[in-house]
């Protein structure tokens, strides 16, 4: 069977639905700048796939580790940075190998 892809954007309501989170949690996540949807108010907010993932991650960290939302905002941006640096480091190491044989 061929599965259907979902790559569209999510409204505020759809995000609550897909993450199974209450609206006030998502408002916290947005107010702390953990995700930054398009649009100025909840009625016009539009979230992409990446934001769905980040929102779920933020909520897991909040529940599992008891970190407050501003701590989550900091943790998520640091985790992002670590991930970026790791992948950059890996890429640079690979490219270096093409010039300097091990």
């Amino acid at each position: 069977m061929m599965a259907s892809l979902e790559t569209h954007y999510f409204s505020f309501e759809e995000l609550c639905d897909v993450t199974e989170l209450s609206s006030h949690i998502i408002i916290e996540v947005v107010e702390h700048g953990i995700v930054e949807p398009e649009g100025n108010d909840p009625e016009t907010w539009s979230f992409d796939m990446q934001m769905v993932t980040v929102t779920k991650k933020a909520c897991r960290l909040h529940n599992d580790l008891g970190i407050d939302w501003s701590g989550i905002a900091l943790a998520i941006s640091l985790l992002d940075e670590v991930e970026q640096l790791r992948s950059e480091n890996e890429k640079l190491a690979n490219r270096l190998k093409r010039f300097v044989p091990e």
């Binding site: 599965a3 259907s4 892809l5 979902e6 991650k57 897991r60 490219r95």
Partner: protein, 315 residues
Amino acid sequence: MEFKDYYKILGVETDADIKAIKTAYRKLARKYHPDVSTENDAEAKFKEVSEAYEVLKDTEKRAEFDEIRQYGAHGQRFQPPPGWQSAHQGSEQFEGDFSDFFSSIFGGGGGRGAGPGADSGFAFNQKGQDIETELPIFLEDTLSAGSQTISYTLPRRGDDGRVTEVKKTLNVKIPAGVSDGERIRLKGQGAQGMGSGANGDLYLRIRLVPHPLFDVEAHNLIITVPLAPWEAALGTKVEVPTLDGKINLSIPGNSQTGQRMRVKGKGLARKDGFGDLYAVLKIVMPAKTTEDAKKLWQQLATTATFDPRAEWSNS
């Protein structure tokens, strides 16, 4: 089943107070949280630590566990004492995914929300668990839309409340131009919902498989082009592989190692068109030098005025 020593799991003494237990739990939870940790078995460790804390933070459960611990000889297969009845049995539904060992002492189906009180079928409805899995894709396959067959495991709850893993295979259409780390959601392809709850979703995390020739930089590709010293000096034409066929690249004379040449439109697919391919030059020496070649190098050495270490002479 295996006996679990919750004190050992949290690394605390058996007489540790609640404060010490909390601190130990917090430290380990941070260490093994699957969103933070890079360890392979982080998720299993995190579950184990959460389970240990669930028991030891609760005076009643802890007392019951202490009793079991006295009874359960270490290193042997564990069976609860005959006629064992927990004060919690049947009275509580546990959030979280706990082990058989936990369930045998405190009751609960060992899985999310399936309380022992649910004797008349599933007493409530819940959306199925979302599943995230990695989808490795070859660079060649990102150029155009195509279908991929993926296999993943889903937790399935049987009628007895036990959770088993089932393998599922799915044919997925992948759009052109997916990038590393991108997530694709497949609605309803996650774990089965309970009662009239909807199925969970499947999230595919795209991972571009490293290519033996090409490196990826955003939507551009980089290929390293080895050149003989005389090719770099005099210029040449090189046949360069791309992801779809070969192209001829003119190398100008006096080229340097590290120099980049851009081949437009031969990179990865973007939402609008294609990225570029960068050919990075790398001058390599032959592994062996013949007598004839050596003579020619010597001739060059006596006539050339090039000082490769000119930068050193000023310092």
